[in-house]
């Protein structure tokens, strides 16, 4: 099979994978870690420990706060100091558990040997329980709890498991490094998820700019010999790693507006999530570590790193370990340059989904002043969802929610292609994100009203 890609829109930013040659190093432990209770999509977790409690590495410190939520484990051993609100990356208050680090004592149930465990357990329910108990969430960016995604709703069948190794965001190399250094674990993780989903085939999608990862993953697939797993080379194009775009590229199916990937028989998981699933099921290790890239557009290669970090380590500590903030840096970003968030608060802590700290120079980040739309249509050409960003922008400013909904503002995946391609430097994404929020509010309110009306009608019918 040739190289594949998605059918509509997309842009080609320079991939800037400067830190690709930096092997994963383990980050030393700081004196204190702050574990956030909102590290996943959905309801925040509820702390189970109290100040003064002794904890060991891998011990559960918080339980899910709802159906879509996840367990949180202690990344270090030591004493719980406080459970208090603390400012996150964006300056908003979130509950954090502060733990003073004392030694490095692990929960004895965790298998820390490097030996590869290839035998896959038979009991699906037990596997799912382990994934849930390990607090595994999607590490591709959205941090959606993995066990929820791996349980298709009744009536829906998974026809294909897609492992996302696209890493289409420029600069990031954390997924690339784990594919090069730990391919076998990822493949075993994929086989475990295949088992849970009822033995559907699995496609590992990797962009063509990562030949080393393609080679290592292909070798691991061939060596381990699980049935139905294959590596698929994808063309380099942003946002290939978007769930709907990846499904389009690999399966040539489109998820309809408001639909879920499972509607077209697809389940998409990141390669890092697959590694976390392997560790959770085969090694009893909860999700307490992840890989984070330190890189930048004007940073010398010797100062770039791929760190294996314990979740909860403050960003300021990581930056310090990596040699401080370089003078050339004008903006720090957590995540990729396209979808990542600017860091306004270095005291913030790392979370399960942290993937990078980017140092970008003034030239690379400074926004140009906004000018008038020249109606060139580049944004509509670039939109991978087939939307018309210029139109949505105008409708948002006019406050026309009905027209916004008709023009599918709610389908925006916030990839930033429109903003990237706009020659007038209009902050299209910023406005469309607002519009999307408002339209989603209207849709949710309507659904709630319809549900209430249906219930009222049912109650009335029963009363008769």
């Amino acid at each position: 099979m040739g190289k594949l890609t998605f059918s509509m829109g997309g842009v080609h930013p320079h991939d800037s994978k400067f830190s690709r040659a930096c092997a994963i190093e383990e980050l030393p432990l700081p004196q204190t870690v702050y574990v956030s209770m909102a590290q996943h999509l959905g309801a925040p977790a509820k702390p189970l420990v109290a100040p003064g409690d002794k904890v060991v590495v891998g011990q559960v410190i918080a339980e899910p706060g709802g159906f879509i939520s996840a367990f949180v484990h202690s990344p270090v051993s030591g004493t719980v100091k406080t459970i208090a609100p603390r400012k996150d990356l964006a300056g908003n208050s979130v509950m954090h558990v502060e733990i003073a680090v004392e030694g490095d004592e692990w929960d004895p149930a965790i298998d820390r040997s490097p030996a590869l465990v290839t035998a896959i357990p038979d009991d699906k329910a037990a596997i799912l329980d382990k994934i849930k108990a390990a607090g595994v969430v999607g590490l591709g960016g959205a941090t959606f709890p993995a066990h929820v995604k791996l349980c298709p709703p009744p009536g829906k069948v998974a026809e294909c498991l897609i492992l996302n190794g696209a890493e289409c965001e420029p600069f990031l190399t954390s997924d690339f490094r784990i594919m090069v250094e730990r391919p076998k674990e990822i493949v075993v993780g994929a086989a475990i998820m295949q088992k849970v989903l009822g033995g559907c085939p699995c496609v590992i999608g990797i962009e063509e700019n990562k030949p080393e990862a393609i080679a290592s993953m292909s070798a691991a697939v061939a060596e381990l010999g699980y049935p139905g797993i294959q590596v698929q080379v994808l063309k380099k194009r942003y946002p290939q790693g978007g769930e709907k775009q990846l499904i389009d590229a690999v399966m040539h199916r489109q998820v309809k507006s408001g639909g879920l990937p499972i509607d077209v028989g697809a389940v998409v998981q990141n390669v890092a999530t697959s590694l976390a699933v392997y560790e959770a099921v085969q090694k009893n290790k909860p999700l307490i570590t992840n890989v984070l890239t330190i890189t930048g557009d004007q940073l010398p290669v010797e100062r770039q790193h791929n760190y294996l970090f314990r979740i909860g380590i403050p960003l300021s500590y990581i930056v310090e370990q990596a040699g401080g903030i370089p003078e050339t840096a004008a903006k720090l970003i957590s995540g990729g340059p396209m979808m990542g968030k600017a860091i306004s608060n270095l005291d913030a802590t790392t979370v399960k989904g942290s993937s990078s700290v980017l140092y970008l120079s003034e030239a690379a980040t400074r926004r140009q002043p906004e000018t008038n739309c020249i109606r060139c249509g580049k944004c509509a050409e670039a939109c991978p969802m087939g939307l018309e960003p210029f139109l949505l922008n105008r409708l948002y400013k006019a406050g026309d929610l009905d027209a916004l909904e008709q023009n599918a503002a709610q389908d925006c995946i916030e990839c930033g292609c429109c903003l990237y391609s706009c020659p007038a430097h209009i902050s299209l994404l910023d406005y469309i994100r607002q519009a999307k929020g408002q339209v989603m509010g209207v849709i949710r309110a309507r659904a709630a009203a319809a549900k209430a009306a249906a219930e009222a009608a049912k109650a009335a019918a029963e009363a008769k």
Binding site: A90, G91, K341
Partner: protein
């Protein structure tokens, strides 16, 4: 020839009469009965169509007013009592006079008091900025300074002060329609009673952080110390979530809270004299001493009575 002309005229005349009859019948049959008072009420309305009353525009207000059993739930903030009296006289209702309100900005985190901790260069919109992060200062509750309120005001009553970076309300132009309060993503603009001769007292801060954190973010922040609430003799001040709030229905404009506030978060406006803080503090101290004396005397009396 003549006959043709006669026929033509006759046919057209008959046809015209027939059609006129049909039109007349249709007009009678499908006539929309509209209360003429709606037009009358609409005429006395300000015609700003601002939506400050909660209706889609002045005609929608008039329509609702005519259909309503009384005018208790309707009020035109732009026209005020004058317009409401006119509306009431047209419809034969009586309305009680309402004290005029004005928009008040509850943030005094000027550039000086609230140092910028980062730089924002995104879209110039408070809503967008608020959705992205807590703002370019250490305070997550204060004014974002992009002027969504100014854009929302139809009456030109709001402007950004370049020196402080905060919006300023022109009291003469403000109609208290509430559009700015709705536009502000941080909800710092509140409609408050204008007060006698425009005099009013309010806490110009919304910071819910604990004292030290609030103080660190902004020198003018309310730190929730509660001194004002302890001092107030009218029971008008409450402190919830580390922020004081003055109930404008209870406030008697004695300005004691303003004098004792350690950070200057309480503002009094339009008072004829400048506040002499020391004099007010002395007054409070005297009153407290007197109260203590009285309490002691009462205690002694009690003891004597018991003994």
């Amino acid at each position: 020839m003549t006959q043709t002309i006669i026929w033509t005229v006759a046919i057209l005349t008959v046809l015209g009469l027939l059609l006129a009859l049909i039109l007349f019948w249709v007009a009678r049959k499908f006539k929309v009965e509209e209360d003429p008072r709606i037009d009358e009420v609409e005429k006395v309305m300000p015609g700003a169509n601002c939506g400050g009353c909660g209706f889609a525009g002045c005609r929608a207000f008039a329509d609702a007013a005519v259909k309503a059993p009384n005018l208790d739930n309707q009020y035109c903030p732009v026209g005020g009592d004058e317009v409401m009296q006119k509306v009431a006289s047209i419809l034969g209702f009586t309305v009680a006079a309402k004290a005029p309100q004005v928009a008040v900005v509850r943030c005094n985190g000027s550039c000086e008091a609230r140092p910028r901790t980062n730089e924002y260069d995104g879209a110039k919109s408070c809503r967008v900025k608020a959705a992205l992060y807590s703002g370019d200062t250490g305070c997550a509750f204060g004014c974002l300074g992009c002027g969504d309120c100014v854009a929302a005001c139809q009456f030109g009553a709001l402007s950004m002060d370049p020196a402080t970076g905060l919006p300023v309300v022109d009291e003469d132009k403000c109609t208290a329609c509430g559009a700015c309060a709705k536009a502000c993503p941080k909800h710092i603009i509140e409609l408050r009673l204008k007060g006698p001769r425009g005099m009013r007292e309010f806490v110009s801060c919304m910071n819910k952080d604990k004292g030290p954190a609030a103080k660190k973010a902004c020198a003018n922040a309310c730190i929730g110390c509660g001194l004002c609430a302890k001092t107030c003799t009218h029971d008008a001040i409450t402190v919830t979530d580390n922020v004081a709030y003055i109930d404008f229905n209870k406030c008697k404009l004695c300005r004691e809270c303003e004098a004792v506030c350690p950070t200057g978060a309480i503002h009094g406006v339009n008072f004829p004299k400048e506040l002499d803080k020391e004099a007010v503090k002395k007054r409070i101290a005297d009153r407290k001493a007197k109260a203590a004396e009285a309490a002691q005397a009462a205690e002694e009396k009690k003891e004597v009575a018991n003994g």
